[in-house]
């Protein structure tokens, strides 16, 4: 009787080990190229729009880019959902859960820092040109976004960590360099957002798409 119980425990432990290893192994590979391309297009369009509409008050800038972030997240979710339905897979799979959990702390920190900056900036009535007080904010967002990607990169294809490092190193480098004397705060702030959240996403998405195609052709 005792032997039966031990064998049952042994089998259950084996199954638990197998389950843990399978979960650890299952990398998040879903819809990465379309998500990157979508976010890149949104980032570039938003940067052009923000600059064109001259959204230059601190509060306007923070609200505008928070809205862009919401659009990007919602669009990404729809792309993930579409692929999950197409492949008859659950949306909230263990890899998706782990990637989301890895993303959350840096993104929440970015949101909180943005909120604090929004509160501190005040309504600034009539001031549509001065972003110099929060010129650091886009770069902090860039660095935190890089941290989020690097953390999620443990559960995604290896290139994601390199992509995250691109944001971290680029953001820190530009923070250290400061805003060039010839640049205007409005163009600089939207330019940073467009460069990192637009161009980098787009470039990586195109790279992923081309390597996926090559992989399929091979």
């Amino acid at each position: 009787m005792q032997s039966n119980g031990m064998e049952s425990n042994w089998a259950a432990e084996h199954l638990q080990v197998i389950r843990t290893l399978m979960e650890r192994s299952a990398l998040y590979r879903r819809a990465l190229a379309p998500i990157m391309i979508f976010n890149g297009a949104v980032g570039l369009a938003a940067a052009a729009l923000g600059w064109g509409l001259r959204i230059g008050s601190p509060r306007g800038f923070i609200l505008f880019w928070t809205g862009v972030g919401v659009v990007a997240v919602a669009g990404s979710f729809l792309l993930v959902r579409r692929q999950a339905i197409k492949d008859a897979e659950p949306i909230w799979s263990p890899p998706t859960r782990r990637v989301t959990q890895a993303f959350m702390p840096p993104l929440a920190a970015g949101l909180m820092i943005g909120t604090v900056a929004w509160v501190k900036a005040g309504p600034a009535p009539g001031n549509f040109s001065d972003l110099s007080g929060v010129i650091w904010l886009p770069l902090i967002w860039v660095v935190l976004y890089g941290c989020a990607f690097h953390a999620a990169g443990f559960f995604m294809p290896r290139g994601m960590k390199v992509f995250g490092w691109g944001f971290i190193v680029g953001g820190c480098g530009l923070l250290a360099a400061g805003m060039p004397g010839w640049a205007a705060p409005l163009g600089y702030a939207h330019g940073i957002m467009g460069l990192f959240f637009g161009s980098l996403h787009l470039a990586y998405g195109v790279y992923l798409r081309s390597t996926e195609r090559r992989g399929n052709e091979a």
Binding site: S8, H14, L15, V17, I18, L21, S25, A26, L27
Partner: protein, 102 residues
Amino acid sequence: MNPEPFLQIDRVIHEKGRLAIMSMLAASPELSFTELRDTLGMTDGNITTHIRTLQEAGYLSVTKSFQNNRPLTTCALTPAGKRAFTHYINLLERIIQQNRPK
């Protein structure tokens, strides 16, 4: 107690290191040698031996290619490997079922 499930256990898969490799590959279309080694914390020699055993049993296919001018070895389960792994899981479940108090 029915000893039949124990007698059916595949000794190739049942070894701890090989079971870990099979489990990881069961959840991923393919994994590189490095990914397997780093995740499982095995030495190069140890993992090579296990991979060779699984390959000889027909459970695993190994592909050698180049990525960025560096050699890349990737492993994947063969259809026979997937069947053997599923069978192994089913046996474990049967062992648990038959020892469950009625």
